[in-house]
Amino acid sequence: MSKEQVSKQPPVVLEIKNVTKKFAVDGGKFLTACDNVSLRAYEGQTLGIIGESGCGKSTLVRTLLQIHPATSGEAIFEGKDILQAKGEESRKNRCKIQMVFQDPTAAFNPKMLVKDILTEPLKNFGMIKKEEVDAKAAELLQMVELPAEFKDRYPHSMSGGQRQRLGIARALSLEPKIIVCDEATSALDVSVQEKVCDLLCRLQKEKGITYLFICHDLGLVDLMCHQVAVMYLGNVVEWLEKGRIAEHCKHPYSQALMKAVFKVDFKPGEKIQPLEGEIPSPLDLPIGCPFQSRCERCAEICRKEKPVLREVEPQHWVACHFVK
């Protein structure tokens, strides 16, 4: 991205402010899945969210889609807080925010024809007549580069990559402003993944869609996303609105993630350095920095005081006591 493009930041589509999500568990305890998360997504751009399993990335987007209610916080979309929307209003919101799921096998009703799968969202919103179904399905299939004949098939007769395109086509049917891709390419082979990502980028350019792209492949996130947020234990620990993660990441956790990536062009003798241990239980969050138990630089202050996200350079926020 050239410098000129960076300065012309498109308008904010979704502003997530201090979203917290706690789940009640047995014994009156609470599991904190998202802890005071604030992020912004821009029109026609991709916000990548990375982190290990259990870091709350899926919970965050599910909260935004009102699959479960937020404990506190707000998400401003088109001037309104969508987390407070109820009934018909929240149903209407879903028309504008759609989702592509990780497992393309489990995402569809196996007994429905492809054309019915693709147009079901339109039917739900009364936006399509019966006689238009075939034409619309064919149009959607074409959009995701699948042959129009597929409309009379069942999803089981399609390959994984084709099914994932189907998921994208279904998400597109309502012409949403935002599409959430929750590990949408994790189940695919690299060559198929590349094609699906190309497709996503092309559609983004054509329609100005914003993606929330959840993924744990750092390489892919780096290539797909305009902005990147790194989450750990429900917290955003680093947020880059511009620049590449490889060159600019500063948080010890982001750097540790970088070191665990398998590159194809390994030099002999080069070693990966994975983080030791596992993500702590979100049931009893530590006082202080969430990353303290696995951080090499952990010191006294990290155990006492939780670092807040600070802007360490323009459009780059880091939550660490040691990154100035």
Partner: protein
């Protein structure tokens, strides 16, 4: 040569799934089989292990393991061999372990099945030692856990510990890290490399992560549509790919700092 597979054809019913596969592996070597889903990667290692499902069978060729043609094995010979001379870890070891029995009970069962002379106490001792060996914290606690109480990475370690109990000569790993995230994947891969160094076993790993293949292997075999597209040493395949499909695969791997899709 520890393992020699020659002109192997594998069919499911009448359908030829793998055609004319050849591979050679020596002690202490790691071979990665890469390729897209459905290309027959798993089928090959299942044939080596003698556990092709359903109508699957080897229709031609030979598998010579440690000087013996394993295709002539009787069921009893297979039983004696698996676990002791060759063993396997799966994509999610959680699916291999019985979900309603504690890890410990099953681990002891496993040890006693393969080595009936071992007492329960000895077996327990062996199991905890193996669990500690793969860097699982608090092995006694793990022995007392149900599979669902462990994370994916921990279950995978339990799988590795079980597989290595009898120091097999070859370890077959079927996409052992596909279900894990980056840090856990790195931990497990390092664990498998450690296991190779410690036991001097040969390893065949099926993966679709070319980074993993490039990192750990001595040899790489690329498969497409049931045929071997290319095979050779790591340096040959990664550094100087010959087959168009290998080049295409290598290009498709997202590289940090590479050209962005939207540019």
């Amino acid at each position: 040569m520890l393992l020699e597979v020659k002109n192997l054809d594998i069919s499911y019913g009448d359908k030829l799934t793998v055609a004319n596969a050849n591979l050679e592996l020596d002690k202490g070597e790691i071979l990665s089989i890469v390729g897209e889903s459905g290309s027959g990667k798993t089928t090959i290692i299942r044939a080596i292990m003698g556990c092709l499902p359903g109508a699957g069978r080897v229709s031609a060729g030979s598998i010579i393991f440690d000087g013996k043609d394993v295709l002539k094995n009787t069921p009893q010979q297979w039983r004696d061999m698996s676990g002791k001379e060759m063993s396997m870890i799966f994509q999610d070891s959680g699916n291999m372990i019985n979900p309603i029995r504690r890890i410990g009970v099953q681990f002891i069962d496993y040890i006693q099945t393969h080595s009936p002379a071992t007492s329960k106490e000895e077996a327990y001792e062996m199991a905890t030692k193996m669990l500690a060996n793969v860097h699982l914290p608090n092995p006694d606690n793990i022995m007392n856990s149900y599979p669902f109480e462990l994370s994916g990475g921990m279950r995978q370690r339990v799988g590795i510990a079980m597989a290595m109990t009898f120091s097999p000569k070859i370890l077959l790993a079927d996409e052992p890290t596909s279900a894990l995230d980056v840090t856990t994947q790195a931990q497990i891969i390092r664990q498998i490399v450690d296991v190779r160094n410690e036991y001097h076993a040969a390893v065949i790993i099926v993966t679709h992560n070319l980074g993993v293949a490039s990192y750990m292997s001595n040899k790489i075999m690329v498969m497409k549509g049931g045929k071997v597209a290319e095979s050779g040493t790591r340096e040959e395949v990664i550094g100087n790919p010959q087959h168009e499909y290998t080049k295409q695969l290598l290009r498709a791997v997202p590289v940090i700092g590479g050209k962005r899709y939207y540019e």
